[in-house]
Symmetry: C2
Subunit: 317 residues, 2 copies
Amino acid sequence: MAVLAIDLGGTRLALALFDGGGDLILKQTVFLQQRRGTEVGDLIRQQTARLLHEAGRRQLPVHGIGVSVPGIYRAQTGSVWAPNIPGWADYPLLHELNAISGGEVPVHMDSDGACCIIAEARRGAARGCRNAVFLAVGTGIGAGIMVDGQVLRGAGGSAGAVGWLALDRPFDDRYSRCGCFEYYASGDGIARLTSECLAAEAGYSGVLASTFEGAEDVFAARAAGDALAERILRQCTEFWGMAAANLVSLFNPEKIIFGGGVFGPALGLLGDIYSEARKWAQPIGIGEVRFEGSALGADAALFGAAYLALHARSLED
Amino acid sequence: MAVLAIDLGGTRLALALFDGGGDLILKQTVFLQQRRGTEVGDLIRQQTARLLHEAGRRQLPVHGIGVSVPGIYRAQTGSVWAPNIPGWADYPLLHELNAISGGEVPVHMDSDGACCIIAEARRGAARGCRNAVFLAVGTGIGAGIMVDGQVLRGAGGSAGAVGWLALDRPFDDRYSRCGCFEYYASGDGIARLTSECLAAEAGYSGVLASTFEGAEDVFAARAAGDALAERILRQCTEFWGMAAANLVSLFNPEKIIFGGGVFGPALGLLGDIYSEARKWAQPIGIGEVRFEGSALGADAALFGAAYLALHARSLED
């Protein structure tokens, strides 16, 4: 048997076939480009149908479809709230995916944060943990939180919205769109802050003046000794440390797992992030936690989606 | 049948007898005064023995003892970490209480935060909720957090340490002892800030110059139109709003219940606290939460201790 896993991101769509043991057989990725609303739904259905066909050609019967969505999945209505996809305030994705197989292949869906912590708990850095947090820092910031072996969902499914953490008073209207923590310490935040600094500091003649295109260039510049990059990433380290401290004080987890595109290159700062967190956090809790990088990297949500299809949202077999 | 409930605080000890339906029969309170270490343990045993004797006199067989402790209860060892009681870094309270009845009356123990949310869920403001937070603001700041019907405990029992929330960068060494949020927005924090302002502002001639003894006087001065009191409590409102926003973004609860000695008089600020929180919090979550005062007031932890004895830490019957 096999399952089909779908990881919908804000900019790209990954699909994969997994075998019954949760091992990856085949993966493909397409970019959303300027698609919006039903165009994104069309792309998902198209790619799903193509992969189901490919599975058939390989004589791999697909027993379930698992989907990771970049936002909130509303199980009651089968709809998705995805703030970074235009027209996806309440998108009927479950209905559209059910239509492909005439309802014959069960579809399971969850938020990307939930998928990532499920995947890390099953075969990644959170194996053996009952309490752990996956902190995903990419274009935006999100989290998947495991409490006593279960994914934290909250009353309406929006729990774990860590990008909205209030960390820097007073309130500034610029936090309204994405939250204070995400504003400063996401990939987008790093890129925006760098642009602002380059525009404001006319005397700057370092490597970023010629190389800067996005957050990854700031990490490269820091590695090359650039002082502006050092300053920008020191501020991010402060925010990452404060947010991690708050997760420690509130959840007393065994691990915080840093993932997403920024961790990645920011993994070299994990020691500094822990030092910052240690200053702020509840002192017993900070002694009981370990900070680690994701074991599954960019595929964490995809693996999680596969486990949804294999085990229907549970962390237990 | 009856149960005996004990609420140990940082400054006082309350004991009560409850009937099998969780109704209060009899309550007594003593102050710890300058007691420390085993002196506090002696006081608890003395008062417990006295109340057990009184129950016997009234022909009320005591079927269990429930204890709320101001810190962390370590179930594995039966010991208590209570930072505000000198000598209680790892106090063997379970052993001492078991000794009173020769182990014949079962003793159940939990943190004050857990006791408060258990009590509110059973007969207070969180009745019917599956996800709710009790935010206790008194001398210090703590919380009891209910996630999907269960009390959140974390890996080592220190979850819910909300007083340690990082809310105001950069880090200041003054946060080291109690946490950033507690430093600014606890009863102690309000009193300290007021003292500092009175010492620094030689020109101040308002009502606090003559009346100030503690946080409650600041609320009275604000009600009388005092500008300094207004300024101090406006800053606290900002911190309470930020912390509540963080609880909303992370837990997506149905209710946040404000209790402890400060709520109390700060309940009049609940609308302002919600307005502040609305600016910061995840926008869907903040629309799904209600902010309310504790329905059980100063007795919340005591009622929770009674429920521990009646139902052994569960929120279900």
